[in-house]
């Protein structure tokens, strides 16, 4: 009787995970606990951070087989959701249904500011490859500067899956930190007088224009960069649901239920890719550092483009609007408004900043399409 009991207890010790815990796993749990704290106590992007942190915690437990190729539950979520390009485009469907292109259509010249901010993406790409990472990794790191979560995940899954968790966390953290990262750059690059420039009210936009836009833009931009099609097509379809006003149910489903469902699977799959062997590497610090640089350079390049446009145009553009070209919608636009109001409290830049902000989303999609095409 005695030896049998001992034998069974030994068996428990063997099949349970305790004996196989490594210190690296412990570090990852600590990181997950930190994310739980940030999400729950600090309300820091909780919709994404909470599932990411949980995915991260369970993916770093021994013997679970959760990420075992072909068998594991989280592996299937990741493989069929992210790797086969299903979830990011579905998120874009919801974003399309939530986006009002009105402010952009009302001041069309401001869309060039959304293009300007992408220069930062490509500059960071060059910087990263000079520092010795390969083209695919450099592209994945550069796109962080676009400040667009689903696009970053889409590109990472295609080009550098081992960096996916890291760049996703970097992109979402920097998006949450937009109000801290951008203002010092914006103040440094503009004069008090420039920040006081008031914008001329835009023209009125007819509803028919809003209906034509997603169709026309979908056609043109997908023809220009075919590789951007999965994200661009869903974005424009969602927007057509919204503006056509004849499919309220589909619009509501895309922006609420469907979006919420895929957000769950996006979060947990991204977290599950963050295994200790993927994450605890010197490269991660490098990614966070370059991601921050990408973000700052994108902010600056948007402002520079605005100043260049002012050299040629009669109606001056407030160069702060260039900072809204990074596509953190609508955080970047809010930051522009706040910095503008500091200089002149009667200057209301918010709705003007929404134009470049949304154009920035389109710009980042084009940039991602180019990376997919040329860095494959």
């Amino acid at each position: 009787m005695g030896p049998d009991l001992l034998q069974s207890l030994k068996g428990v010790a063997e099949f349970s995970g305790f004996a196989s815990v490594t210190w690296q796993m412990g570090v990852m749990w600590m990181l997950a606990f930190l994310f739980f704290y940030l999400a729950i106590a600090k309300k820091f992007e909780p919709l994404l951070l909470l599932p990411i942190a949980f995915g991260m915690m369970v993916a770093n437990l021994p013997h679970t087989g959760l990420m075992e190729p072909g068998l594991g539950l989280l592996w299937r979520f990741y493989e069929y959701g992210i790797k086969s390009e299903v979830i990011p485009p579905l998120i874009f469907l919801g974003l399309g249904a939530l986006t009002d292109f009105g402010p952009m259509l009302s001041q069309p010249r401001l869309i060039f500011l959304g293009a300007g901010a992408q220069v930062g993406v490509f500059l960071t790409f060059i910087g990263a490859s000079l520092m010795g990472v390969n083209l695919q990794e450099a592209a994945t790191i550069g796109i962080i500067g676009g400040a667009d979560g689903p696009t970053t995940i889409f590109l990472a899954a295609k080009l550098a899956p081992h960096l996916l968790g890291t760049v996703a966390v970097a992109a979402y953290s920097y998006m949450a930190l937009v109000p801290l990262i951008q203002p010092p750059i914006m103040r440094l690059m503009t004069t008090e007088d420039e920040r006081k420039i008031r914008m001329k009210p835009g023209r009125k936009v007819h509803q028919l224009e809003k209906i034509i836009f997603p169709i026309a833009a979908g056609l043109i931009l997908i023809l220009l960069v075919p590789a951007s099609a999965p994200l661009m097509a869903m974005f424009m379809l969602g927007n057509l649901f919204r503006e056509s006003k004849v499919v309220e149910r589909l619009k509501a489903a895309s922006q609420n239920e469907l979006m919420n469902i895929v957000t769950i699977f996006l979060g947990i799959s991204v977290g599950a890719t963050m295994s200790a062997e993927n994450f605890l590497q010197p490269k991660v610090i490098f990614v966070f550092f370059l991601g921050l640089a990408a973000f700052s350079v994108s902010t600056a390049s948007g402002i520079i483009i605005a100043k260049c446009m002012n050299l040629f145009s009669k109606d001056k553009i407030n160069p702060l609007l260039g900072a809204a070209g990074v596509s953190a919608v609508p955080m970047a636009a809010r930051v522009v408004h706040k910095v503008g109001a500091e200089a002149d409290k009667r200057n209301y830049l918010l709705m003007y900043a929404m134009g470049p902000n949304i154009a920035g989303v389109l710009g980042t999609l084009i940039a991602a399409g180019v990376f997919v095409t040329l860095c494959k």
Binding site: A333, R334, A341, R346, L350, M351
Partner: protein, 71 residues
């Protein structure tokens, strides 16, 4: 008579004054909301609020009249 116009498109979140109130230049009269952000609208003149032409919760266009001040 001075008209206060909506400085941007958005929703009237709170009206911080009543008809008949005397106000100073730069007092906060109305708080608007757009893109989940509050924006204060300041008095353009010193005087008495003659008429408020919007209600809380109403959506307004840029340039729409919000209230009138007798100055």
């Amino acid at each position: 008579m001075e008209k206060l116009l909506a400085p941007m498109a958005g929703n009237i979140w709170k009206i911080e004054c009543k008809e008949g109130d005397s106000v100073n230049v730069d007092d906060v009269l109305i708080i608007m909301e757009a893109m989940k952000m509050e924006a204060e609208v300041y008095s353009p003149a010193t005087g008495v609020i003659a008429k408020i032409t919007v209600k809380e919760g109403q959506d307004v266009e840029e340039g729409q009249a919000l209230l009138e001040i007798d100055s």
